[in-house]
Structures are given as structure tokens and as C-alpha cells.
Symmetry: C2
Subunit: 312 residues, 2 copies
Amino acid sequence: SRELMIFSGNANLALAHEICAYLGVKLGEATVASFSDGEIRVKIEENVRGADVFVVQSSCEPVNDSLMELLIMIDALKRSSANRITAVIPYFGYARQDRKDQPRVPISAKLVADLISTAGTDRVLTMDLHAGQIQGFFNVPVDHLYALPVLLDYIMKKKVKDLVIVSPDAGGVERARAFAKRLQATLAIIDKRREGPNQTQIMNIIGDVEGKSALLLDDMIDTAGTIVQGAQACADKGAREVWTACTHAVLSGPALDRLQGSCVKQVIVTNTIPLRGKDQTCPKLYQLSVAPLLGEAIRRIHEDESVSSLFA
Amino acid sequence: SRELMIFSGNANLALAHEICAYLGVKLGEATVASFSDGEIRVKIEENVRGADVFVVQSSCEPVNDSLMELLIMIDALKRSSANRITAVIPYFGYARQDRKDQPRVPISAKLVADLISTAGTDRVLTMDLHAGQIQGFFNVPVDHLYALPVLLDYIMKKKVKDLVIVSPDAGGVERARAFAKRLQATLAIIDKRREGPNQTQIMNIIGDVEGKSALLLDDMIDTAGTIVQGAQACADKGAREVWTACTHAVLSGPALDRLQGSCVKQVIVTNTIPLRGKDQTCPKLYQLSVAPLLGEAIRRIHEDESVSSLFA
Ligand SMILES: Nc1ncnc2c1ncn2[C@@H]1O[C@H](COP(=O)(O)O)[C@@H](O)[C@H]1O
Ligand SMILES: Nc1ncnc2c1ncn2[C@@H]1O[C@H](COP(=O)(O)O)[C@@H](O)[C@H]1O
């Protein structure tokens, strides 16, 4: 049958290597570099004719470069007669611009989905989309995994007493509920309100955190503003300790400083986005690997088996 | 009739302002900025419903950011019910990757053309494409202008004696011939040859440069290697003086240092790509404006007149 081949751009090479280790295949050889003027230079260095190819590339920072690497690699693979090309996008960037919440703004998430199809992608494998609806932006099959089992596994092993799962906003309640159920923990929701235009925000917590161990859960941590505010609100309401977990460690701008200066004990993240320079030295950050999950999904897609049992 | 509106990304705002001045219209208000994580944030700040919109944006360095700005602006304009959207791309990046000159490489120029259509572009206006064939990569109408009249005008005013137009390689002969004809100058061609694998290149000049004023002509100057080598070859063959002209001042990596250290007297460029930091202080660089040419083309496209007489 068709050969399984894995290629990677520069966005998360380490993760691609882990996925290859899980599958027992060698990472496909490809040059993905830049010309002197910054244009991306791609050459697929091995024969892919007839192969079942997976390209691992998160559209994380530098987001536009990462995205163009993915598109140009797919173009090169398509022109090299790969039989099928699956874009493995552990972190799908531009996901927050997924609707017109004001006049005359783009829906960049839809645009990016169209760009990925245009380049010649046959399928997409991604994780914890900011909104499940983004699956519908694609005209090709999408397998959408959740990092939940990986995060749950780690949290369960901690055997935390009096755990309460806290959603930092109303949008995250479903995710928090799924976690709370599996962990047999209680649930709380932070409800930010601004009473008037120039009033400071009031953080109400719906549910009980007093004397408990509060785990704030989100799909991503970007500038960490929401998480750090929410953590403080939990502490103010008498939480014994506060930690936080997310799938996508975007960690831009002031994120690291904010987390370091906060009451958050530990920040559990996955490797859908690699930790960079200073993030790696932050003692509060703890990174879990989604490589086995992605590897298993790739194996099943390759063998035409159902992936749905992985949607824990 | 439909209102003419001009918008611009950040790639060449100064040129967009000049085009607006030529047309006597105000540059359309738009926010084109970045979120903390580097994702592009666009908001069109005025009503464009039913308008005939032109978006000025070269895909120059940082090329992937410039390109994504263009795509996201077009998405936002389309969703804001613009009647027609013309992408004005004075410098079309990724143009040199326009064919498979080796196995398993992308044809990035075609991919980029497809991305621009996918975003919702109705027409394209561009200048001095690296290869005319790239017009065929688009499924929408393309107007393709030449900077030749702007360069010619300046060179003619110099009233140089004994002018010879030199093509730096065989690929540029047609362009050089067009110039030589208009300027009633003679023509020469540089023929680089490597006799064996580890032999240095020999620069043959076909045609006569001795005692003459040699003008090396190219569509773009990137790292300036070709131009500086060619200039030295002309000097070695007895040219009285050497200068050079190009449309697109890519000027990446060692370009500036090479030009400064070379025998080239003057480097005539246009503003399809803005001069940056240190380029602006280089006394050899002389920049001409293509704003009137682009402005006139935009006026004609808007008024449904033929643009072809501008193809001097
Ligand atoms: N990269 C980004 N960084 C911060 N905010 C963003 C980003 N992309 C989109 N947004 C904004 O985030 C909001 C949507 O986020 P959410 O309500 O969490 O789905 C919208 O108002 C977007 O304009
Ligand atoms: N941005 C770039 N910088 C330098 N060389 C490039 C670039 N893009 C493509 N090329 C190479 O330039 C060659 C084509 O240039 P040309 O022969 O002038 O059309 C091909 O071998 C390309 O791989």
C-alpha cells in the first residue's frame, strides 16, 4: 500500500520528530529555508510519488512565515505527485478572527482555511480549534482532536484534593465542564463585568472556590491577561492554590512576566506550539506532549481507520 | 457611478499617498496592524459598499507579512461589499520561483497568484513581472505595466554620449533591446561561463563597451551579485563609466555594501519597493517614482478605458 511519509516545516520540528518516533518512521528530508530577501525556499529532498504524506506545521509565531512554509511545502509535494497530502496543524493560527464581531473586519480564519485548500491539501488534522465551527470553513475532511486526554492524565496523577475547574469566561464553560466531569471535580465560572464605561472590571465567580484547589482552563494562553486576572480573582475568593492548563501556549508579549508575577503555581501546556527562548527557563511552565495523540491519529488516517475514538 | 477608493497596506504607504495625490483622492482609512502574537489585524475604517476599490501593496520584505496583509485586507473589503477589488502590486514577490527548474520544488509564483484570487481579488495591476508568463497564473484580468517610460525619461535627460545598454544575462536581452532602441543606443550582452566545475566564471561581453558609457539594465537588483560582476566586466573591457538601472530595488543581504564597493557610478531604481534605513543614505541610489504611471492606470481602469497605451 501507499507509503506513509511525514514532513515538517520549521514551526515545530521537535514535535514532528516525536511523532515520527511514535510511528517508527524517519522524518522526510526537505529543505525549508529562506532566500536572502526572505522568500521561502523549499525543496523536497526525497521521492514522494504515490506516497501518503503528512506535513506537520503549526501556524504559530512567526505566524505568516509558518503559514507560507506550510502552503509552499504543500505546493511542492503536490507537484511531486504525492498521492494524498494531509496538513497536520496542531495549532491553527488566526482562529480568533472567526466571525465579524464588528463591521468591516475580515474573517481571517476562513481565509486561512481557504488558502490551505487552495495550496492542494487533501485533509486537515488539527487540535483544539478556538471554535469547533472552524471545521466548517474547510471544504476538505478535518479531523479535530482534543488535548483533553493528555492534560487529564497529568492532572489525575497529581491526585489534587478539592479540585474545582474554573472557566475564565463564559465561552470556555463547555470545555471546563468536560474536564470537571472526568475529574469528578466541581465547576466554577468567572464572569467579568464592567458596570460603566470608565469603571474597573469586577470579577464575579459563579460557583465555589473557597479553600479549594482551582484549575483555570483555557484553549490558549496568549498575553495571559485573562488567566492572571482570573487567578487573582480565585485567590481573592479564598482558593487554597491556583494553577492553570491550556492546549496552546501562544505566550506573546507580556505573558511570561505576567505569569511569573502572578499567584499561579503552575502553567500546564502542551507542545502544539514550541516553547521559545525565555519560556523554556520559566519554572512555572510545564509542557506535555501531544505527539502520541497526533501520531496515533496519523496512523489511523493512514490505515483508513476511524479516528473518532481519540476524541475522548 | 461607483466611487474610486484607494487603500494601502504597510508595504509602500508613501507610494500609495503619491498615487492618491496624482488622482486627487484621499487615501482610504484602514487599520492594518498586528496583534500581540503577530497575527495581522485589519479594520476598514470607512464605508466601501459599492465602491471601486484599489489596494496598493507590494509583496516585498517582510514578504510573507506583506502578502498576508494584502490577502486579509481583500477579505475584509470583500465582506464589506466593495463592488470591485483591484490588487495593485507594484512589486510581485515570489516571482522568481515561476517554474520547476529542478525536481520537487514548488512554483510559488503560481501559488501566490492563486492565493490572491482566493482572497477575492477581481483584478490585478502590477509592474515589470520577472516573467510575463506569470500573468497567465491568474484567472482574473491582469494589467501589466512597464517602468520603462519612467526610467527612459530620466536617462534621456542625462544626454549621455556613446551609450551602450548592457543586459547582465541572456534572460534580459529583450528588455535591454527595448531600451537601446528607444535611446538609439547600442546593445551588449554579458555571457557568464564556467569552463569546469571548480573553475571561476568567465565574463564574456558580446558587443562593444570600450570607451563607452555602459548602462546595465535588469528588472530587479536583489543581492547585487550579478550587477556588480557585470559592471566590473564592463570596466575591465574598457567602459568609460558604468551605471545601472532596475525597476525593483529588492536590495537584500550584501546588496548595499556590494554596490558601494563597486565601480558602478549610479544605481537608478523606482519606488515599487520603498528604500529602507541604510538604503536611504546610499549616495549611489537614485529613486524615480512610478506613482504617476500607476495613478494613470488606476484612473483608466476605474473609468473603463484601455490601459494598453501605457504599455510604452
Ligand atoms: N491574534 C489575536 N490576538 C488577540 N485578539 C485577537 C486575535 N485575533 C482575533 N482577536 C480578537 O479576539 C476576539 C475573539 O476572541 P474570542 O471572543 O475569544 O473568540 C475578536 O474580537 C478578535 O478581534
Ligand atoms: N527570492 C529568491 N532569491 C534568490 N533566488 C531565487 C529566489 N526565488 C527563486 N530563486 C531562484 O532563482 C532562479 C530563477 O531565477 P531566474 O533564472 O532569474 O528566473 C531559480 O533557480 C529559483 O530557485
